[in-house]
């Protein structure tokens, strides 16, 4: 999936993935897609909830060699 920006949040623990995601998202325009890589096991629920609350869309997520990848479209 194509992304406008990729955020590497691997190795970071709560609350950093969400703090970094917000910062990265602030730099994008509505409709653009942010790709996030994280290793924090809570990231899946955290990012899904965060995207929903902020009016963004979690397009897709997958797991690859213990790295969780997310694609969020800015609302």
């Amino acid at each position: 999936m194509k992304a406008d920006k990729v955020l590497d949040a691997k190795g970071l623990a709560c609350p950093m993935p969400i703090v970094k995601t917000k910062k990265a998202m602030d730099g994008l325009e509505s409709g653009q897609v942010l790709e996030i890589h994280a290793t924090d096991k809570g990231a899946k629920n955290d990012l899904a909830a965060w995207a929903k609350s902020g009016g963004h869309e979690l397009l897709k997520h997958e797991e690859e060699h213990e790295v969780l990848k997310f694609w969020i479209k800015k609302g």
């Binding site: 190795g11 970071l12 623990a13 709560c14 609350p15 950093m16 969400i18 703090v19 995601t21 917000k22 965060w50 609350s53 902020g54």
Partner: protein
């Protein structure tokens, strides 16, 4: 856009672990685009203390308090398994190992995210703490200011 949601946390505890929880929630809430306030009262005020000793005019009791209370976030003890100071050392070790953030880092991050850090002036008087002893960019207020923030708040916590 609707009006911003707010998160209001009262940090009463002077324990390292409880303060960590408060600051993690606060930083998370800021990432949720909430307006976040941490209202520090009683032992929670110690999280805002500078770590260097300052020569200030104080009475005997105030000097005793100043000596006995932790000077700054890094010196705070744990609510559980403190083991006379060994506990915090162990916790800081595992924090590093798991790439989590220490309490001083969380406080710095909170300031970067424009979280409002408030010190309760009444309890500052009780504990003999003066503004010079606390971090820069801290606001000073009392119960009414807290209530004004909290009455329409979406998340209200007492830690």
């Amino acid at each position: 856009m609707t009006e911003k949601k707010t998160t209001n946390i009262i940090l009463f505890s002077g324990d390292y672990d409880k303060a960590m929880a408060a600051y993690i929630i606060a930083n998370g809430a800021a990432a949720y685009d909430h307006e976040v306030t941490i209202f520090h009262t009683f032992w929670g005020l110690n999280a805002l203390r500078k770590d260097e000793p300052l020569a200030l005019k104080k009475g005997f009791l105030e000097k005793m308090f100043a000596k006995m209370m932790p000077r700054g976030a890094d010196k705070m003890g744990l609510s559980n398994m403190n083991f006379s100071g060994m506990g915090p050392k162990m916790i800081k070790h595992v924090i590093k190992k798991h790439n989590a953030m220490t309490l001083p880092q969380l406080i710095e991050m909170a300031q970067e995210q424009d979280i409002k850090l408030v010190a309760c002036t009444m309890t500052m008087d009780l504990l003999g703490l003066q503004q010079e002893e606390l971090l820069e960019n801290v606001e000073y207020a009392g119960v009414a200011a807290y209530l004004a923030d909290a009455e329409n708040g979406n998340v209200n916590l007492f830690i």
